[in-house]
């Protein structure tokens, strides 16, 4: 059976109209790679835009994150990437993916909502800090000075997004045994857990009272990567290209294009916190 015959046999009447030119015996040929319109991966574009933004004065940058909920498949790669990038200990999470089940079993569907820190322009968490340990830095990112934080957790109580967790000093490798060089144990392997580079400096976190143990911790849009022109870990790891990052003060940037669309929301707008995380719905 020829291609034309196949289409003629199985296509519906409506579809038949659409395929009529083919059915009438037009020649079909495969497109070569050169003929396809060039489509750039969003990551490549965002990396380029990130470098462009870094050339601007700090105060002129406006970092935002855009999350396309239609593309999120709930794989949790961003959560895991964040844990690995920032060496988050047990009990500390910066970017959970909140999962909502819709319907009654077995007729269910799932909806996913990645929740980083919203980096609010009017953050309720910073004004309550008694020692200005958490504040918006010159780039508009809400940061925590671990050496300043007294660990009162007032910011945790004040955050309407639950975006802050407390470092109680746990280690994933705790109580790991040592066994004939097959299991290396806490002492040998824990360097991995201690090697966090948050805020551009090494946090050893070796002793029970070393900051950030005893401190509140939160997502900071991977500031330490941004300054080197690398996108946040959650962005680069997203398998569905559902998370975008960039400078909203650059009208030609991808994030500016995305947040200018009408199908964009921010969480808990009614609180007046002015989040910098936008969701495409």
């Amino acid at each position: 059976m020829t291609e034309a015959n196949l289409l003629e046999k199985y296509a519906s009447e409506v579809f038949a109209g659409l395929v009529a030119p083919v059915a009438e015996g037009l020649e079909i040929s495969a497109l070569s790679a050169e003929d396809l319109p060039a489509k750039e991966d969003a990551l490549v574009r965002m990396e380029r835009e990130l470098k462009r933004a870094l050339e601007k004065p700090v105060s002129e940058r406006r970092w935002v994150m855009v999350i396309d909920l239609r593309r999120c498949v709930g794989c949790n790669a961003c959560t895991v990437a964040c844990v690995a990038e920032n060496k988050l200990p047990p009990g500390v999470v910066y970017r959970p993916v909140i999962t909502e089940e819709i319907g009654t079993y077995p007729n269910v569907t799932m909806r996913f909502l990645p929740r980083p820190c919203m980096q609010c322009d009017k953050p309720p968490c910073t004004e309550v800090c008694p020692v200005t340990a958490t504040y918006k830095n010159e780039e508009g990112i809400v940061v925590i000075d671990y050496e300043q934080c007294i660990g009162c957790r007032a910011c945790m109580a004040a955050c309407p997004y639950g975006a802050r967790t407390f470092d109680f000093g746990y280690y994933y490798l705790e109580q790991l045994p040592v066994l004939d060089e097959t299991i290396v144990g806490m002492e040998t392997a824990s360097g991995y857990e201690h090697a966090s580079q948050e805020y551009g400096r090494a946090w050893k976190r070796e002793k029970r009272h070393d900051s950030p143990i005893g401190n509140v911790r939160k997502c900071h849009f991977c500031l330490h990567r941004i300054k080197d022109g690398i996108l946040p870990a959650c962005v680069t790891t997203c398998i569905g290209r559902a998370t975008y990052f960039g400078d909203a003060n650059d009208p030609d940037s991808l994030v500016s294009e995305l947040i200018s669309q009408p199908n964009v929301i921010r969480l808990k707008e009614e609180l007046g916190t002015e989040p910098r995380v936008y969701y495409i719905v």
Binding site: V93, P96, T99, E127, I150, R208
Partner: protein
């Protein structure tokens, strides 16, 4: 006999508490049960309670030194001392709650005055100094105008710091259960209620030296204050809960249900309502019972226990509604729980704090105040 038992309770509480204090100081906060979702637990509640007792005790001292209420004559020094002891005890409780308590100096030298917490630390420090000055003047020259002037300032500050604690919670727009306009109004009432309860206990059990008629009249007056404040508290509770349930705002309903029918129902119905309110409300209106030292002291103790429960049941349920519903289920780890019951270590630290307060008050009443009075008189 009661005094001996009280000393023993104080010593045992302190001894049991030393273990918790050691664990907290040298091993950190892992053995506490508060976490990242219920981030404020027993220690914060005990701070609210003791700070309220301190402010209330000061308010009642003004009945002697400022308002010259005859029934309160001669009790001012004791209440000032109780205020001076309970405030540091409360601050110790909140201090143990800090992840880095060694950095507390930063609140004084690098404060952020947009933070109500920082303002409260400063407010309580000023209040502590005012209590100390008031007590000094009360021992040295109770009849002088200087004492009245300081006590007026202290009286106003005591209302402000008590209300401030209410604002600390009430000002938090993220927590619906706390974000009630009346909370800063309620807390000064709670303060005077807990001050009166403490005084019932102290006068009923430990101040037999007061003149018999004055003691009876004072206990009766304290009973009336306790009844009035208990009824007011009951009404606040009724208003809060019915408004929350009727309004139906999800966060409020979750919090109220956790108290009424959820995990905190025992603390609420048995400790706060039956022990802390109903029994005192049945006993105290009877003059014969209210004027009986033992019964009055016992009712004071019951009221105080009820107030501790009440503080816990303000602090903890307010944090149960998730900020982002479903968050606690998607990422698991230690301290990522919406359930909270204080751990043994937390109770132990609280035991140390309360043991310190009990012994501090008793030693002050039995020895220190007399000693200081003698020293001052000798100087004259």
């Amino acid at each position: 006999m009661i005094k001996k038992i009280s000393y023993a309770v104080g010593v045992l509480a302190l001894l049991f508490g030393l273990w918790g204090v050691y664990v907290r100081l040298f091993e950190g906060e892992q053995s506490a049960n508060y976490g990242s979702y219920i981030s404020w637990g027993l220690w914060v509640a005990i701070y609210l309670f003791l700070a309220g007792v301190s402010a209330g005790a000061y308010m009642l001292a003004t009945f002697d030194y400022l308002f010259n209420v005859p029934q309160f004559k001669g009790t001012g020094k004791t209440m000032l001392w109780a205020s001076l002891v309970t405030l540091p005890a409360g601050l110790a409780s909140i201090g143990m709650d800090l992840g880095h308590m060694e950095r507390i100096w930063k609140v004084y030298l690098q404060p952020n005055f947009t933070s109500f917490l920082a303002l409260m630390v400063w407010g309580y420090t000023i209040f502590l100094i005012l209590i100390a000055i008031s007590l000094y003047l009360a021992i040295k020259a109770p009849e002088k105008a200087a004492l009245k002037a300081v006590m007026w300032i202290g009286f106003v500050v005591s209302i402000l710091v008590a209300g401030g604690v209410g604002f600390l919670l009430g000002g938090n727009a993220a927590r619906m259960y706390w974000h009630v306009g009346l909370l800063p109004v309620q807390f000064p009432v709670f303060a005077i209620a807990s001050g009166a309860a403490l005084m019932l206990l102290l006068v009923g059990w430990f101040m037999p030296s007061l003149d018999g008629k004055q003691r009876g009249d004072l206990l009766w007056l304290l009973a009336i204050i306790s009844i009035a404040t208990s009824v007011a508290k009951l009404y606040f509770l009724l208003a809060d809960f019915t408004q929350s349930l009727y309004g139906g705002a999800v966060d409020n309903v979750i919090a109220v249900q956790s108290v009424l029918t959820g995990p905190y129902r025992f603390s609420f119905w048995v400790v706060q309502i039956v022990i802390g309110l109903l029994i005192p409300l049945l006993v105290l209106p009877q003059p014969k019972l209210a004027k009986n030292g033992f019964v009055a002291g016992l009712m004071g103790l019951f009221l105080l226990i009820g107030y501790v429960a009440a503080r816990i049941l303000i602090v903890v349920p307010g944090q149960i509604p998730e900020m982002m519903p479903g968050q606690a289920e998607v990422f698991h780890g230690p301290k990522l729980s919406l359930a909270y019951t204080p751990s043994l270590m937390e109770w132990s630290v609280t035991s140390a704090v309360l043991g310190f307060a009990i012994l501090g008050i008793l030693i002050g009443m039995d020895y220190l105040l007399d000693y200081l009075t003698r020293v001052m008189e000798a100087k004259k």
